[in-house]
Symmetry: D2
Subunit: 360 residues, 4 copies
Amino acid sequence: MPHLKTAVVGATGIAGQQLLAALAEHPGFEVTTLAASTRSAGKKYLDAIRTSAGAVQWFCREPLDQRLAELVVVEAAEFDARTVDIVFTAVESDVAKEIEPKYAQHVPVMSTASAFRMEPDVPILVPGVNHDQMPLIRTMQRRRGWKGFVVPNSNCTTVGLAITLAPLYRTFGIQSVVMTSLQAVSGAGRSPGVSALDIVDNVIPHIANEEGKVERETQKILGRLTGEGIEPAAFPVSATCTRVAVLEAHTECVNVSLGRAASLDEVKAPFESFGRELTSLGHPSSPQRLITVTDDPFRPQPRLDRDNEDGMTTTVGRLRECSVLEHGVKYVLLSHNTKMGAGKGCVLMAEELVRQGYIG
Amino acid sequence: MPHLKTAVVGATGIAGQQLLAALAEHPGFEVTTLAASTRSAGKKYLDAIRTSAGAVQWFCREPLDQRLAELVVVEAAEFDARTVDIVFTAVESDVAKEIEPKYAQHVPVMSTASAFRMEPDVPILVPGVNHDQMPLIRTMQRRRGWKGFVVPNSNCTTVGLAITLAPLYRTFGIQSVVMTSLQAVSGAGRSPGVSALDIVDNVIPHIANEEGKVERETQKILGRLTGEGIEPAAFPVSATCTRVAVLEAHTECVNVSLGRAASLDEVKAPFESFGRELTSLGHPSSPQRLITVTDDPFRPQPRLDRDNEDGMTTTVGRLRECSVLEHGVKYVLLSHNTKMGAGKGCVLMAEELVRQGYIG
Amino acid sequence: MPHLKTAVVGATGIAGQQLLAALAEHPGFEVTTLAASTRSAGKKYLDAIRTSAGAVQWFCREPLDQRLAELVVVEAAEFDARTVDIVFTAVESDVAKEIEPKYAQHVPVMSTASAFRMEPDVPILVPGVNHDQMPLIRTMQRRRGWKGFVVPNSNCTTVGLAITLAPLYRTFGIQSVVMTSLQAVSGAGRSPGVSALDIVDNVIPHIANEEGKVERETQKILGRLTGEGIEPAAFPVSATCTRVAVLEAHTECVNVSLGRAASLDEVKAPFESFGRELTSLGHPSSPQRLITVTDDPFRPQPRLDRDNEDGMTTTVGRLRECSVLEHGVKYVLLSHNTKMGAGKGCVLMAEELVRQGYIG
Amino acid sequence: MPHLKTAVVGATGIAGQQLLAALAEHPGFEVTTLAASTRSAGKKYLDAIRTSAGAVQWFCREPLDQRLAELVVVEAAEFDARTVDIVFTAVESDVAKEIEPKYAQHVPVMSTASAFRMEPDVPILVPGVNHDQMPLIRTMQRRRGWKGFVVPNSNCTTVGLAITLAPLYRTFGIQSVVMTSLQAVSGAGRSPGVSALDIVDNVIPHIANEEGKVERETQKILGRLTGEGIEPAAFPVSATCTRVAVLEAHTECVNVSLGRAASLDEVKAPFESFGRELTSLGHPSSPQRLITVTDDPFRPQPRLDRDNEDGMTTTVGRLRECSVLEHGVKYVLLSHNTKMGAGKGCVLMAEELVRQGYIG
């Protein structure tokens, strides 16, 4: 693997920290620049994440790399992307809309923001799912006159759904999908994030704008690359997104109408074999299996299964027939929203883009 | 309202306590007998629910009635039901199967157990939903040679679903239902109930036997009384039942395929008018509205909405179109599993059975 | 009780809402003015607490009074206090420092802010505890040239401690106090309050500035009124304040060194008789007992005991000897931080100030 | 390190599983026997921990060793301890009282049960704290005619307290200790353990028998070995033990009266240097530091700090002066109750007993 100078933009926030954790001791991506807003610029990283009361706001389980702790943070708006080979961003959507194109003029930008996801010349790349959409990057570069590009990850609720629908779609076709999510509070970030007052002994049955994102992103990710861009998959998705008192990992209850009849054993097989082309490459951030199927009727559970393969495998359980949908099956999936669904998913995707020559 | 001598069987358990709370200061049902297992028999009720370490195991928010605290508990297996006018039971299903028929030879038995729910001559009565099935009680009495009868309530997850589907079914017809529940831990009772180790920072994606119960009971409740018994409603129900870190009140995310096209406003109307025939009677345990519709996009929430109308109204929110099902709508409902879904729902049903002459 | 026109300042925040809940249907205090910051001024109250996404941010269990919902909010900085007879405030300390003196020039101000608590001519009044400090109000008025005054409540963690120490102090004397609190998240308010990410499956072992407040306020409240002001009680208090995953009600584990030897029965008696002079007056917001002693070894528990007497009684349990402190006893207390420890405690104190002629 | 055949008794329970996790891939202790009650005997381990509903009840984060999964469980009462070199037990106290002496006739028994802790010829050994009490093992063997011995660990709440008091006691002396614990639910095990109904949105202010254990064990552990046995440390300990909604790791708020005046810096030094004699030996289960001191005012926190050094370091924070106790200091400690406070603490102690020639 080539050695690439790497910037993390939005490095002080929780999503940025997840990127730093995913990049710690990475054999190919060396973090040489940490960028953030004016408030943090000019401070050592450790000081930038310290509150006035002295508390260090480092939220990942992985320890903070001592070298990064000492790095002086630069201002995102003034950062010259030409000094690195790749940029990972973890900023709010409105900020992303401004700064990502600046960076993309020069270098590849792997983004956790939603700003560019629905642009017609931008693919939302999900590991193992839609590598066939990568050539759209060349279109984006040509149209926009960029040397680099922006590749956003999907919403953290979309990623597990897309990964588990992909093998079904390829094998059986899909007529429709009904999904109810039970999402972790970490998906809301920290500023302000979910208040303890709202989630202890409670469920919040709505997450602003989430359902539409999940529905549209899923169709785009499973869509078909044409000369014009991506033609979304034709099947409708109906999502209900809720928030529960779980720290990390989204649970999703999925009902799928397949394109043709299939027994549960027939359905299980493509889950288990899914993603071999990717996982066999041995990328540093890759799990051994993109999907892990469990037969335990009480699994997957967030606390017990989220850390499998360092949060990079999607666990599928409770595979059953659905009596309502035609050729219907239903299952429960668990996806780690701050690992595969966030920074580390981006890093894995970047590893593959390096291999395919889009980066580096 | 006539004055009826009332027994509560299984009075020491959490479900029995919910019955006692529902019957406290009731103008028509006077609790004159408390029955429980051999272990409690012969003790004053207060002593029967006290642990060896001295802790009083009274789990309801309502204070324990001082008169009941002093009542000596009798053994359920030896209790002579002829000494009362009505029996409410809150025992395990296998116990119910044995003792409820003994009582029912003499007096009406309102049961929270599942033992008789699927018997062909037994209606599962839900307040406001299927009073037209009451005449089946006469069939039960004739066939079994009982003076009394057994009327079970539905599963606590079924009740909110049945109440909200009923107005849709009557108004538009229903083709199919997909439902995912996020259930409270109190639904599992206390012995053993849900362990703290399993639910803090977690979701349990399966509740043993629950999904089948919800599916079959819903069809029976919304079924049609014929000469032979109840012909279940023909529409399929596909349920996924999960447990979340909520103390009380089940949240259910429901997708319904209606029998014909209807706008959201058209759908809202029958929700709001549902159950007037019942609520207008002013039964002591009746809410003012069986269904409360909220327009707040972040409601219903268990902690904020469960205590409305003392847990006897079902709250419906997030009414939207479903892009997958034909003539599809979706909504989120909240139902108080230990009030309308348990003892107090039974008491309300009994109040109506008194009015209609089946009891007393 | 005379009828007094009442303003609530800071009415849109959670502490202000607790005041509104405490004043709902109050026989003596009629809320005629709602004041808040510029952002809310000019809007109907219901609109002022509605988010852009349409969610109504009303956080109390008690329903919002429909009359208040329609009231147009005035700006706190421009509110003319002469239009009312009494002002209750629920604003941040820095705002309180500015606006409370303006109001106090004309009318009594009952404050939930800490701004004036440690002023030498201002008593921190706690119901039943230190009514003998009321005359300091006259000194305050004289020195400052105010027709009204500012009477702050104590910190929500201090109030339960002061109420339970008061009978011990009067009866036995106190040499010292060691206290560890397990505080509810509602004590931190909502903006930003405690993040779900920080409290699920966690304890936060520090609350900024809380321990010093508890220590100093306790000494002042139990101090002695002299010609010069209040001479703090001489005994040291050592507090450790922690935050736990509880919504409402603070638990405090207290070790006290009494002034002389006393058996546990001797200690229990003054707890039980404490506050009769106040509770016998039948004030609208008064509990029947200021302190409730429980013998159940597993009580008090926040969820089971906080709502006793609508959160206005302090529950004391686990009374035992302390083997470390001289004449040591220890106990666990439970105090409802958003009822007696907040708005409703202020209202009760105001009721007594009316009776004693300081208000109205 | 010598290679020792190892039995784990009570292997199917949660405490036994923690032992298995601690012994997984251990370079010196090879688990050759799994023993449990009659119910499990004769089954493969994996089948023994599977419920009738098919759920595998493996509760540790570490995966279950595949070799152990296949091992056939033997019955504890009939297990011949002569077939192994060392036995680790994780059974209830009454069972321990019966079976541990049988094993100890032949081989060393490291016990997590409380059965023998207060026997005069039995030391409660805590890593790094009281190795000087090891010779009491020889007395036990002589008096009882055992070739082996029983060495119990301390209560999981005692262990962190003893580890942090030890350096203070040695350096400054201790006059007295006041401690309030906020304990994790895992400390109660699983059968039945703490019910979700008791801990969500709640605190349980009492743990049966816990406070006395903590007080007496601490004095014994820090006591002095004499010809007669152990003379307990003379300082009194006053404990209040509570349960909070935390999965793992006990938080303890400690106030200590030192034997002489010391500045906070002087107190910090012995914490930081404590246990070097042990940690420098590089035992497989040893942390690098027995005590980790943090200056972050908001630490230690259970979720953020419990997994440091795989749960084998005790974190101390919030070091401050205590205004009540003579030469008083106070601090908050965090100790992982199912690692250092349970199986893995036993294993570390056994590693040292091997080195010192008591085992193997």
